[in-house]
Symmetry: C2
Amino acid sequence: MKEIVYTYSHLFNFAVVVFMKIGCSSKEAESAAKVLVSADLRGIDSHGVARLSGYIRLWDVHRVNSKPNIQIIHETPSTAVIDGDSGLGLVVAPFAMQVAIEKAKKVGTGWVSVQNSNHYGIAAAHAMMALEHDMVGISMTNASPLVVPTFSIQKMLGTNPICVAVPAGKQPPFVADLATTTAANGKLEILQRKNMNTPFGWVQDADGNASTDANILKKGGALLPLGGDREHGSHKGYALGAVVDIFSGLLSGANYAPWVPPFPAYVPLPEKQPGKGIGHFFGAMRVDAFRTVDDFKKDMDDWIEGFRNATPSPGNEKVLVPGDPEREMEAERLQHGIPLVPQVAEDLQKLAERFELTF
Amino acid sequence: MKEIVYTYSHLFNFAVVVFMKIGCSSKEAESAAKVLVSADLRGIDSHGVARLSGYIRLWDVHRVNSKPNIQIIHETPSTAVIDGDSGLGLVVAPFAMQVAIEKAKKVGTGWVSVQNSNHYGIAAAHAMMALEHDMVGISMTNASPLVVPTFSIQKMLGTNPICVAVPAGKQPPFVADLATTTAANGKLEILQRKNMNTPFGWVQDADGNASTDANILKKGGALLPLGGDREHGSHKGYALGAVVDIFSGLLSGANYAPWVPPFPAYVPLPEKQPGKGIGHFFGAMRVDAFRTVDDFKKDMDDWIEGFRNATPSPGNEKVLVPGDPEREMEAERLQHGIPLVPQVAEDLQKLAERFELTF
């Protein structure tokens, strides 16, 4: 399985052109491509160009609208609800995050819940938009049901990620981006390709038994909430995933719980659709709505240095700060390129042929 | 070990009088007692009257100010920073949550970070204040360092809980209240009393080895972040605890990371004190800042019913919604009383003697 390495700009430009081919404006295509390829840069390969053909298939079945009329349908000084008009989540989410940032400029914080959207890429891409404004950024989304609540064999929640991005001074920003499950689905896909098992605590089978089968989702199994089982706090991971669903789906009027539309275009929509599309939630908090930016950043630097210099446990080189691995990956891949597994490169090649492009 | 049962009003009234004996106004004593005994009602015995003498010992060593001048020191339309003036967290926190609620009434949401406070009881007591206003309530606090980050043997974070309370319609509210560790310290205390071991994944020893010793904290060991180890997502629990610390300690100018003051009065303060006291963070979001309250509550009822009716896994009777066990406990204890273990009853008896009261 030989990987082929592409430059960031090669993948970015290709994604821009593909999104324009389905009818996106050049501005929206660039916005979408930036979010998409940021996942590859940061090492979240499951959410990058590997998904490009999946987004296009959603457009094929008319579940993605490439010319959406994204609009605010309700607002207060610090909040908004946005109707994404079935647009690409990759386009709707940056729009919504920008609304949160504008609200924060005016009244200190901004909070935006989004209905009628689609898969939005990595949570971090949106939360990190706040950083250049000296704001804390928050981003979360619901997703189609792969996860069982504690004590359940019925899949009721998505992997429902949360990202919190916090600016620092001399230090790079703090960026925590986490699925509310023990392991995200992308981790299973990697093990599937390698024909390996999962550790216990990641998945259960269709009957609710502990399992280590990386292919268990295809056999009716489920991902487990962060914590794994009740004894190890899975009710907490379940509660966090539930909060993401409520903020994203119920505050906005999107679908929620097991009724969130699936990403694969060939999977039919659930019969019950209590809302519109999938839901996201964004927050922006101006640091200087609390303290001076200088005071805060001085403390953040001290905080980050304290953690990075904490005594590591045996066998570990150092203690990491959330965001460290992804930032190091980004620097590495900007310099040396982004490796794609052959399946993904072939998938992009097929897209190129379909749209009469060269990849 | 025979438990003795007391009525809610007996414990509440006793706590009110004790807080007045150290100089609290009757209003503040009642506010503090309400928060304190709500923990006993909800079954979080580690955070209820079992801690009353601990709060008094903090007053003995002048770390709690019973006549605080709690004030807003910085604000925007949607935010405030509050200086708790070393007051009881049990008093400062409801004050701060009320400020968040008032801000939400005006601009949709309110966000309050608090410095110079003390231990605030259970997170849920404050977040739930939002419910009667048809608001989502959020509450979190930092705490003294008992928890190691992933890959660390140095304790850098507290158990840093998060509570999110969401109103529903016919259904009772959703209330998720969780320490960002696999297990809270109170769970260890229960095992200590029973001379039992912890499961793997709760604690590690001073050298970073896996441990099942419920007394390991006294031997230099540490609690583990939710997830337990890296393979099971402990970096996510660590990141969540870190977010709580940043929102509570760094947005407010309180102490943070390993420098948060300890609860036991006999433990000296860390030499380095980068801020003031301990920090909390509160949020209130008006439901109707997003959708009509009726639409939202209808969906919340549907959501809750969906989860409660999900197919349980073998050996489990039903799937729970966050807040269910605590609410059932509260109903039970309001009717049949609150059982206290003999050590706690004796501790309260000693407090009664000290202040010439009857318990």
